[in-house]
Symmetry: C2
Subunit: 213 residues, 2 copies
Protein backbone atom coordinates (compact mmCIF):
# COMPACT_ATOMS: atom_id res chain seq x y z
CA UNK A 1 0.00 0.00 0.00
CA UNK A 2 1.45 3.44 -0.87
CA UNK A 3 2.50 5.50 2.10
CA UNK A 4 0.83 8.86 2.58
CA UNK A 5 2.97 11.97 2.56
CA UNK A 6 2.36 15.69 2.74
CA UNK A 7 5.29 16.36 0.45
CA UNK A 8 5.28 15.12 -3.17
CA UNK A 9 8.51 13.25 -3.88
CA UNK A 10 10.06 12.82 -7.34
CA UNK A 11 9.61 9.29 -8.76
CA UNK A 12 12.78 7.18 -9.12
CA UNK A 13 14.06 6.51 -12.70
CA UNK A 14 11.89 3.85 -14.37
CA UNK A 15 10.81 2.49 -17.75
CA UNK A 16 8.14 4.39 -19.66
CA UNK A 17 5.34 1.88 -18.98
CA UNK A 18 5.96 1.78 -15.26
CA UNK A 19 6.12 5.57 -15.19
CA UNK A 20 2.82 5.85 -17.06
CA UNK A 21 1.22 3.42 -14.58
CA UNK A 22 2.55 5.38 -11.64
CA UNK A 23 1.36 8.60 -13.20
CA UNK A 24 -2.12 7.12 -13.75
CA UNK A 25 -2.01 5.88 -10.16
CA UNK A 26 -1.23 9.36 -8.88
CA UNK A 27 -4.11 10.79 -10.92
CA UNK A 28 -6.53 8.18 -9.54
CA UNK A 29 -5.32 8.77 -5.99
CA UNK A 30 -5.69 12.53 -6.39
CA UNK A 31 -9.16 12.19 -7.98
CA UNK A 32 -10.29 9.96 -5.09
CA UNK A 33 -8.99 12.46 -2.55
CA UNK A 34 -10.77 15.37 -4.27
CA UNK A 35 -14.06 13.47 -4.59
CA UNK A 36 -13.89 12.27 -0.99
CA UNK A 37 -13.11 15.74 0.37
CA UNK A 38 -16.16 17.16 -1.45
CA UNK A 39 -18.51 14.38 -0.31
CA UNK A 40 -17.29 14.51 3.30
CA UNK A 41 -17.80 18.29 3.31
CA UNK A 42 -21.37 17.93 2.01
CA UNK A 43 -22.55 14.97 4.11
CA UNK A 44 -20.05 14.18 6.87
CA UNK A 45 -17.97 11.05 7.40
CA UNK A 46 -20.78 8.74 8.54
CA UNK A 47 -23.02 9.40 5.53
CA UNK A 48 -20.43 8.77 2.81
CA UNK A 49 -19.57 5.21 1.74
CA UNK A 50 -16.54 3.84 -0.10
CA UNK A 51 -18.85 3.17 -3.08
CA UNK A 52 -20.01 6.82 -3.10
CA UNK A 53 -16.40 8.02 -3.18
CA UNK A 54 -15.39 5.54 -5.90
CA UNK A 55 -18.42 6.46 -8.03
CA UNK A 56 -17.73 10.19 -7.71
CA UNK A 57 -14.11 9.66 -8.84
CA UNK A 58 -15.02 7.16 -11.60
CA UNK A 59 -13.04 4.46 -9.78
CA UNK A 60 -13.67 1.15 -7.97
CA UNK A 61 -14.24 0.83 -4.19
CA UNK A 62 -11.22 -1.51 -4.08
CA UNK A 63 -9.07 1.37 -5.34
CA UNK A 64 -10.04 3.46 -2.30
CA UNK A 65 -8.81 0.73 0.04
CA UNK A 66 -5.73 0.14 -2.17
CA UNK A 67 -4.64 3.78 -2.07
CA UNK A 68 -5.81 4.82 1.40
CA UNK A 69 -6.39 1.68 3.47
CA UNK A 70 -9.79 2.72 4.83
CA UNK A 71 -12.48 5.37 4.59
CA UNK A 72 -11.25 6.84 7.86
CA UNK A 73 -7.65 7.11 6.60
CA UNK A 74 -8.94 8.84 3.46
CA UNK A 75 -11.00 11.20 5.61
CA UNK A 76 -7.97 12.09 7.73
CA UNK A 77 -5.77 12.65 4.69
CA UNK A 78 -8.38 14.91 3.07
CA UNK A 79 -8.87 16.82 6.33
CA UNK A 80 -5.11 17.31 6.81
CA UNK A 81 -4.65 18.53 3.23
CA UNK A 82 -7.64 20.89 3.54
CA UNK A 83 -6.61 22.43 6.86
CA UNK A 84 -3.16 23.26 5.42
CA UNK A 85 -4.88 24.89 2.42
CA UNK A 86 -7.09 26.82 4.85
CA UNK A 87 -3.98 27.97 6.73
CA UNK A 88 -2.50 29.26 3.45
CA UNK A 89 -5.75 31.18 2.81
CA UNK A 90 -5.63 32.63 6.31
CA UNK A 91 -2.06 33.79 5.69
CA UNK A 92 -2.95 35.30 2.29
CA UNK A 93 -5.94 37.15 3.79
CA UNK A 94 -3.67 38.56 6.50
CA UNK A 95 -1.21 39.91 3.95
CA UNK A 96 -3.97 42.11 2.51
CA UNK A 97 -4.39 44.05 5.77
CA UNK A 98 -2.47 47.14 6.84
CA UNK A 99 -3.04 47.55 10.61
CA UNK A 100 -2.39 45.23 13.55
CA UNK A 101 -6.06 45.15 14.49
CA UNK A 102 -7.24 44.47 10.93
CA UNK A 103 -4.60 41.72 10.62
CA UNK A 104 -5.73 39.92 13.79
CA UNK A 105 -9.44 40.35 12.93
CA UNK A 106 -8.95 39.05 9.38
CA UNK A 107 -6.96 35.97 10.45
CA UNK A 108 -9.62 35.16 13.06
CA UNK A 109 -12.58 35.61 10.70
CA UNK A 110 -11.09 33.62 7.82
CA UNK A 111 -9.98 30.74 10.08
CA UNK A 112 -13.35 30.52 11.87
CA UNK A 113 -15.28 30.56 8.57
CA UNK A 114 -13.34 27.69 7.03
CA UNK A 115 -15.20 24.35 6.77
CA UNK A 116 -11.75 22.71 6.89
CA UNK A 117 -11.41 23.46 10.61
CA UNK A 118 -14.33 21.38 11.94
CA UNK A 119 -13.38 18.62 9.47
CA UNK A 120 -9.86 18.63 10.90
CA UNK A 121 -11.35 18.50 14.42
CA UNK A 122 -13.24 15.37 13.37
CA UNK A 123 -10.01 13.88 11.99
CA UNK A 124 -8.30 14.58 15.34
CA UNK A 125 -11.08 12.74 17.19
CA UNK A 126 -10.87 9.80 14.78
CA UNK A 127 -7.10 9.50 15.21
CA UNK A 128 -7.57 9.36 18.98
CA UNK A 129 -8.75 5.75 18.66
CA UNK A 130 -6.63 4.81 15.62
CA UNK A 131 -2.86 4.49 16.04
CA UNK A 132 -2.33 4.24 12.28
CA UNK A 133 -3.82 7.69 11.65
CA UNK A 134 -1.74 9.60 14.20
CA UNK A 135 1.56 10.09 12.34
CA UNK A 136 -0.12 12.12 9.56
CA UNK A 137 -2.01 14.16 12.17
CA UNK A 138 1.23 14.84 14.06
CA UNK A 139 3.02 15.95 10.86
CA UNK A 140 0.09 18.17 9.89
CA UNK A 141 0.02 19.88 13.29
CA UNK A 142 3.80 20.43 13.13
CA UNK A 143 3.44 22.00 9.70
CA UNK A 144 0.42 24.10 10.74
CA UNK A 145 2.40 25.48 13.69
CA UNK A 146 5.66 25.97 11.76
CA UNK A 147 3.98 27.72 8.81
CA UNK A 148 1.87 29.82 11.16
CA UNK A 149 4.93 30.85 13.17
CA UNK A 150 6.83 31.77 10.00
CA UNK A 151 3.86 33.73 8.60
CA UNK A 152 3.21 35.75 11.74
CA UNK A 153 6.93 36.43 12.29
CA UNK A 154 7.38 37.63 8.68
CA UNK A 155 4.33 39.85 8.87
CA UNK A 156 5.34 41.42 12.19
CA UNK A 157 8.89 42.00 10.95
CA UNK A 158 7.65 43.64 7.74
CA UNK A 159 5.24 45.93 9.61
CA UNK A 160 7.36 46.64 12.67
CA UNK A 161 4.79 45.08 15.03
CA UNK A 162 5.92 43.36 18.26
CA UNK A 163 4.31 40.11 19.39
CA UNK A 164 3.63 39.41 23.07
CA UNK A 165 4.90 35.82 22.78
CA UNK A 166 7.29 33.85 20.54
CA UNK A 167 5.81 33.25 17.03
CA UNK A 168 5.69 29.45 17.57
CA UNK A 169 3.65 29.92 20.77
CA UNK A 170 1.36 32.40 18.99
CA UNK A 171 0.71 29.94 16.13
CA UNK A 172 -0.03 27.09 18.56
CA UNK A 173 -2.39 29.18 20.67
CA UNK A 174 -4.12 30.59 17.56
CA UNK A 175 -4.92 27.19 16.02
CA UNK A 176 -5.88 25.52 19.31
CA UNK A 177 -8.31 28.36 20.06
CA UNK A 178 -9.67 28.37 16.51
CA UNK A 179 -10.30 24.60 16.76
CA UNK A 180 -12.08 24.98 20.09
CA UNK A 181 -14.20 27.95 19.00
CA UNK A 182 -15.14 26.35 15.66
CA UNK A 183 -16.31 23.24 17.54
CA UNK A 184 -18.29 25.26 20.09
CA UNK A 185 -19.88 27.43 17.42
CA UNK A 186 -20.90 24.46 15.26
CA UNK A 187 -22.27 22.56 18.25
CA UNK A 188 -24.27 25.40 19.80
CA UNK A 189 -25.54 26.90 16.52
CA UNK A 190 -27.17 30.31 16.46
CA UNK A 191 -27.24 30.54 20.26
CA UNK A 192 -23.44 30.84 20.27
CA UNK A 193 -21.92 34.25 21.02
CA UNK A 194 -19.50 34.43 18.09
CA UNK A 195 -18.50 38.00 18.97
CA UNK A 196 -17.24 36.97 22.41
CA UNK A 197 -15.57 33.96 20.82
CA UNK A 198 -13.69 36.13 18.31
CA UNK A 199 -12.14 37.96 21.25
CA UNK A 200 -10.58 34.71 22.50
CA UNK A 201 -8.87 34.11 19.15
CA UNK A 202 -7.87 37.77 18.82
CA UNK A 203 -6.16 37.56 22.23
CA UNK A 204 -3.79 34.88 20.89
CA UNK A 205 -2.59 37.38 18.24
CA UNK A 206 -2.08 40.22 20.66
CA UNK A 207 0.76 42.54 19.64
CA UNK A 208 0.51 44.97 22.58
CA UNK A 209 0.32 44.25 26.31
CA UNK A 210 -3.39 43.68 27.14
CA UNK A 211 -5.02 46.39 29.25
CA UNK A 212 -5.89 45.55 32.85
CA UNK A 213 -9.64 45.56 33.53
CA UNK B 1 -40.85 12.08 25.84
CA UNK B 2 -39.37 13.78 28.91
CA UNK B 3 -37.47 16.94 28.21
CA UNK B 4 -33.81 17.01 29.16
CA UNK B 5 -32.65 19.58 31.67
CA UNK B 6 -29.40 20.41 33.43
CA UNK B 7 -31.27 21.49 36.54
CA UNK B 8 -33.33 19.01 38.55
CA UNK B 9 -36.82 20.43 39.15
CA UNK B 10 -39.12 19.49 42.04
CA UNK B 11 -41.99 17.21 40.98
CA UNK B 12 -45.51 18.71 41.13
CA UNK B 13 -47.90 17.35 43.84
CA UNK B 14 -49.28 13.92 42.78
CA UNK B 15 -50.79 10.74 44.12
CA UNK B 16 -48.45 8.20 45.70
CA UNK B 17 -48.55 5.71 42.82
CA UNK B 18 -47.79 8.35 40.20
CA UNK B 19 -44.97 9.70 42.37
CA UNK B 20 -43.49 6.22 42.79
CA UNK B 21 -43.62 5.69 39.02
CA UNK B 22 -41.96 9.02 38.37
CA UNK B 23 -39.34 8.28 40.99
CA UNK B 24 -38.64 4.86 39.40
CA UNK B 25 -38.47 6.61 36.04
CA UNK B 26 -35.90 9.05 37.33
CA UNK B 27 -33.84 6.19 38.71
CA UNK B 28 -33.99 4.32 35.39
CA UNK B 29 -33.05 7.46 33.47
CA UNK B 30 -30.15 8.17 35.80
CA UNK B 31 -28.95 4.52 35.65
CA UNK B 32 -29.05 4.61 31.84
CA UNK B 33 -27.07 7.86 31.79
CA UNK B 34 -24.43 6.47 34.16
CA UNK B 35 -24.08 3.20 32.23
CA UNK B 36 -23.91 5.00 28.90
CA UNK B 37 -21.30 7.48 30.13
CA UNK B 38 -19.10 4.61 31.30
CA UNK B 39 -19.47 2.58 28.09
CA UNK B 40 -18.89 5.62 25.85
CA UNK B 41 -15.76 6.46 27.84
CA UNK B 42 -14.42 2.92 27.44
CA UNK B 43 -15.28 2.27 23.78
CA UNK B 44 -16.37 5.47 22.07
CA UNK B 45 -19.76 6.35 20.56
CA UNK B 46 -19.52 4.14 17.47
CA UNK B 47 -18.75 0.93 19.36
CA UNK B 48 -21.57 1.13 21.89
CA UNK B 49 -25.10 0.01 20.95
CA UNK B 50 -28.46 0.81 22.53
CA UNK B 51 -28.63 -2.85 23.63
CA UNK B 52 -25.22 -2.57 25.36
CA UNK B 53 -26.41 0.47 27.29
CA UNK B 54 -29.73 -1.12 28.23
CA UNK B 55 -28.01 -4.33 29.37
CA UNK B 56 -25.48 -2.43 31.49
CA UNK B 57 -28.32 -0.52 33.23
CA UNK B 58 -30.60 -3.59 33.57
CA UNK B 59 -33.16 -1.93 31.29
CA UNK B 60 -34.72 -2.42 27.84
CA UNK B 61 -33.39 -0.79 24.65
CA UNK B 62 -36.84 0.80 24.20
CA UNK B 63 -36.30 2.63 27.52
CA UNK B 64 -33.19 4.31 26.10
CA UNK B 65 -35.19 5.71 23.20
CA UNK B 66 -38.10 6.57 25.50
CA UNK B 67 -35.94 8.62 27.89
CA UNK B 68 -33.37 10.05 25.49
CA UNK B 69 -34.71 9.80 21.95
CA UNK B 70 -31.56 8.37 20.41
CA UNK B 71 -28.11 7.04 21.23
CA UNK B 72 -26.62 10.32 20.00
CA UNK B 73 -28.88 12.39 22.27
CA UNK B 74 -27.88 10.19 25.21
CA UNK B 75 -24.20 10.61 24.28
CA UNK B 76 -24.57 14.40 24.18
CA UNK B 77 -26.41 14.50 27.51
CA UNK B 78 -23.75 12.32 29.17
CA UNK B 79 -20.96 14.44 27.65
CA UNK B 80 -22.57 17.70 28.81
CA UNK B 81 -23.09 16.40 32.33
CA UNK B 82 -19.52 15.07 32.48
CA UNK B 83 -17.85 18.25 31.21
CA UNK B 84 -19.65 20.28 33.90
CA UNK B 85 -18.42 17.79 36.52
CA UNK B 86 -14.92 18.14 35.08
CA UNK B 87 -15.21 21.94 35.34
CA UNK B 88 -16.15 21.58 39.03
CA UNK B 89 -13.06 19.39 39.55
CA UNK B 90 -10.88 21.96 37.78
CA UNK B 91 -12.26 24.66 40.08
CA UNK B 92 -11.73 22.52 43.21
CA UNK B 93 -8.13 21.73 42.17
CA UNK B 94 -7.47 25.44 41.65
CA UNK B 95 -8.70 26.26 45.18
CA UNK B 96 -5.94 24.06 46.62
CA UNK B 97 -3.17 26.25 45.14
CA UNK B 98 -1.59 29.29 46.73
CA UNK B 99 0.28 31.16 43.96
CA UNK B 100 -0.89 32.61 40.63
CA UNK B 101 1.46 30.34 38.69
CA UNK B 102 0.44 27.19 40.56
CA UNK B 103 -3.23 28.12 40.09
CA UNK B 104 -2.89 28.50 36.32
CA UNK B 105 -0.75 25.37 35.98
CA UNK B 106 -3.15 23.28 38.07
CA UNK B 107 -6.26 24.41 36.16
CA UNK B 108 -4.50 23.64 32.87
CA UNK B 109 -3.24 20.19 33.92
CA UNK B 110 -6.54 19.03 35.43
CA UNK B 111 -8.60 20.23 32.45
CA UNK B 112 -6.27 18.65 29.88
CA UNK B 113 -6.20 15.32 31.74
CA UNK B 114 -9.99 14.98 31.88
CA UNK B 115 -11.53 12.36 29.57
CA UNK B 116 -14.70 14.49 29.67
CA UNK B 117 -13.10 17.12 27.42
CA UNK B 118 -12.58 15.01 24.27
CA UNK B 119 -15.99 13.42 24.85
CA UNK B 120 -17.54 16.90 24.93
CA UNK B 121 -15.62 17.76 21.73
CA UNK B 122 -17.25 14.73 20.09
CA UNK B 123 -20.66 15.90 21.34
CA UNK B 124 -20.01 19.34 19.79
CA UNK B 125 -19.21 17.70 16.44
CA UNK B 126 -22.34 15.53 16.63
CA UNK B 127 -24.58 18.53 17.35
CA UNK B 128 -23.16 20.28 14.31
CA UNK B 129 -25.32 18.07 12.10
CA UNK B 130 -28.23 17.61 14.53
CA UNK B 131 -30.50 20.59 15.26
CA UNK B 132 -32.21 18.73 18.10
CA UNK B 133 -28.97 18.36 20.07
CA UNK B 134 -27.89 22.01 19.92
CA UNK B 135 -30.02 23.57 22.69
CA UNK B 136 -28.43 21.38 25.40
CA UNK B 137 -24.96 22.10 23.98
CA UNK B 138 -25.68 25.84 24.02
CA UNK B 139 -26.93 25.70 27.64
CA UNK B 140 -23.89 23.66 28.68
CA UNK B 141 -21.46 26.11 27.09
CA UNK B 142 -23.25 29.03 28.75
CA UNK B 143 -22.98 27.30 32.10
CA UNK B 144 -19.33 26.31 31.55
CA UNK B 145 -18.46 29.94 30.78
CA UNK B 146 -20.57 31.44 33.56
CA UNK B 147 -19.27 29.05 36.24
CA UNK B 148 -15.71 29.49 34.99
CA UNK B 149 -16.02 33.27 35.08
CA UNK B 150 -17.44 33.18 38.61
CA UNK B 151 -14.73 30.78 39.81
CA UNK B 152 -11.80 32.74 38.38
CA UNK B 153 -13.23 36.07 39.57
CA UNK B 154 -13.78 34.71 43.12
CA UNK B 155 -10.29 33.23 43.25
CA UNK B 156 -8.60 36.41 41.99
CA UNK B 157 -10.59 38.56 44.41
CA UNK B 158 -9.71 36.32 47.36
CA UNK B 159 -6.00 36.30 46.48
CA UNK B 160 -5.67 39.89 45.28
CA UNK B 161 -4.62 38.80 41.78
CA UNK B 162 -5.48 40.93 38.77
CA UNK B 163 -6.66 39.34 35.50
CA UNK B 164 -5.59 40.73 32.12
CA UNK B 165 -9.12 40.36 30.69
CA UNK B 166 -12.71 40.26 32.03
CA UNK B 167 -13.46 36.93 33.82
CA UNK B 168 -16.07 35.94 31.21
CA UNK B 169 -13.51 36.38 28.41
CA UNK B 170 -10.91 34.43 30.41
CA UNK B 171 -13.32 31.51 30.94
CA UNK B 172 -14.26 31.43 27.24
CA UNK B 173 -10.64 31.53 26.08
CA UNK B 174 -9.62 28.90 28.65
CA UNK B 175 -12.23 26.33 27.62
CA UNK B 176 -11.86 26.93 23.87
CA UNK B 177 -8.08 26.47 24.13
CA UNK B 178 -8.46 23.39 26.36
CA UNK B 179 -10.86 21.85 23.82
CA UNK B 180 -8.47 22.55 20.95
CA UNK B 181 -5.37 21.29 22.78
CA UNK B 182 -7.12 18.14 24.06
CA UNK B 183 -8.19 17.36 20.48
CA UNK B 184 -4.71 17.96 19.08
CA UNK B 185 -3.04 15.94 21.81
CA UNK B 186 -5.40 12.97 21.40
CA UNK B 187 -5.08 13.03 17.60
CA UNK B 188 -1.30 13.34 17.42
CA UNK B 189 -0.52 10.98 20.32
CA UNK B 190 2.97 10.82 21.80
CA UNK B 191 4.44 13.03 19.05
CA UNK B 192 2.49 15.99 20.47
CA UNK B 193 4.43 18.67 22.35
CA UNK B 194 2.23 18.87 25.44
CA UNK B 195 4.64 21.26 27.16
CA UNK B 196 4.27 23.85 24.39
CA UNK B 197 0.52 23.23 24.41
CA UNK B 198 0.25 23.90 28.14
CA UNK B 199 1.72 27.34 27.49
CA UNK B 200 -1.21 28.19 25.20
CA UNK B 201 -3.74 27.36 27.93
CA UNK B 202 -1.66 29.11 30.60
CA UNK B 203 -1.68 32.28 28.48
CA UNK B 204 -5.49 32.43 28.73
CA UNK B 205 -5.17 32.62 32.53
CA UNK B 206 -2.51 35.32 32.51
CA UNK B 207 -2.71 37.61 35.51
CA UNK B 208 0.24 39.84 34.64
CA UNK B 209 1.09 41.55 31.35
CA UNK B 210 3.03 39.02 29.23
CA UNK B 211 6.70 39.84 28.63
CA UNK B 212 7.74 40.94 25.16
CA UNK B 213 10.07 38.45 23.41
Amino acid sequence: MPTTSLVATAPPPARHAARATRSAGRRTRSALLDAAARLFRERGLADVSLSDIAAAADAFPSQVTYYFGSKEALFVEAACRDVLHAAAEVEAAGRRTRTRDAYARRLTAVALQSPAVPAFAEALLLARRRDDLRPLIARTLDRLHAEGARAVAERCLAQGWRLNAPPEAVARAFWATVLGIALESGGAGDAFDLHAAHAAVLATLSTTPPRRP
